[in-house]
């Protein structure tokens, strides 16, 4: 136990089990998510939502790839790695600047750039519409 793994076996499931096994990448297409235990063996569960603004998942004969990298900076282990064709490619710990740059990009993807001009007016109507239907 508590062993670092260098590859992940991919298992497709409808529901993700409550307890995950180390070395297994659980993928639920129905739930648009993949989960695995941190590859360093620390036991932390890593959730990679498979939606446009989060992670991309590709399954090939050799194994699964997930992009972008898994950066568990908040876990005590601080692991940072890439899952490519079922293998773990260990990456260096990211600097604070790299982490922040990644997050800023993430926020931009999710909320979009600040709308201007016509875009702002359209966005206002969209908000009004969402408010109206909900």
């Amino acid at each position: 136990m508590m062993a670092r793994v260098d590859c992940l076996a991919t298992v497709f499931v409808e529901d993700i089990p409550e307890q995950l096994e180390d070395g297994v990448l659980y993928v639920s297409r129905q739930c648009h998510v993949a989960l695995h235990n941190c590859a360093c063996g620390c036991g932390e569960e890593v959730s990679t939502p498979l939606v446009a603004t989060e992670y991309d998942f590709v399954m090939e004969d050799e194994g699964a790839s997930i992009w972008p990298s898994i950066g568990n900076h908040d876990f005590p282990c601080g692991s940072h790695y890439i899952i490519k064709r079922g293998r773990i490619h260990w990456a260096g710990k990211m600097s604070r600047e790299q982490i922040e740059a990644g997050r800023a990009y993430d926020r931009l993807l999710k909320r979009g750039a600040q709308p201007k001009g016509l875009g702002a007016i359209l966005a206002w109507f969209k908000r009004l519409w969402i408010k109206f239907i909900s």
Binding site: D15, I16, H32, V33, S47, P49, T53, D74, R103
Partner: protein, 218 residues
């Protein structure tokens, strides 16, 4: 002589065409290759009710727009009610999905079993009809919904849920001082999808998909 009219009915989901306006229960069984016909119970689904059709019983296909029949191997029928309408069935159990479908119950409603103190029948469950007395099934506005969160099913109250409540479902020990939880959702009310941030609340519905990813807060 008038032209022979072409009538159709459904048997176990398959469309059967016939030139006869009036068919016997035996003929319907035979059209599905059920042999011997007497080994099968035939159930006709009507407007939010169902009844068993005897072998020699005549069915007038002109009187109904879309006659639908189901067959069951066996010789017993089971009675129950759905929203106070009488039903007959050819098996000792009926799945909740069949009740929703044949009784035309909207999917957002929940089914409850009257005889068991208003027990909720899970959408993927079934009702045993073979017990004592007639089971009484009702549909009502659901008080809870089942959502998926990080790929796991969770039953939660039907109301608006906050960012923090959703994060706590995924991480029961969530620490909002130390961590940030990125919440995305799909298949929401009116097909809503997007992300949920601190300070926001969202209406939930059955089958809604939430995913929560944890990252640190700096």
């Amino acid at each position: 002589m008038p032209d022979a009219a072409n009538f159709t009915y459904k048997l176990n989901g398959r469309v059967v065409a016939t030139d006869d306006a009036i068919v016997s229960g035996r003929a319907v069984r035979n059209s599905g290759g059920l042999d011997p016909a007497s080994d099968y119970i035939l159930i006709q689904i009507a407007d939010r009710t169902s009844r068993s059709i005897g072998l020699e019983e005549a069915i007038d296909l002109r009187q109904m727009p879309q006659p639908e029949f189901l067959s069951f191997k066996g010789d017993s029928t089971f009675s129950f009610t759905v929203n106070e309408r009488g039903w007959e069935w050819g098996a000792a159990t009926i799945s909740a999905s069949d009740i929703y479908r044949y009784a035309s119950i909207a999917e957002e409603l929940e089914l409850i079993l009257d005889s068991a103190g208003d027990t909720v029948i899970p959408a993927d469950g079934a009702v045993v009809l073979g017990g004592h007395g007639v089971e009484r099934i009702r549909s009502r506005e659901a008080k809870t919904v089942v959502i998926k969160i990080n790929g796991r099913s969770r039953t939660i109250p039907r109301r608006k849920h906050s960012y923090r409540e959703i994060a706590l479902l995924a991480y029961p020990d969530a620490d909002f001082e130390k961590f940030k939880y990125t919440i995305t959702y799909l298949k929401g009310v009116h097909g809503a999808e997007g992300d949920l941030v601190e300070g926001e609340k969202i209406e939930v519905k059955n089958g809604m998909v939430f995913n929560v990813r944890r990252s640190d807060k700096s």
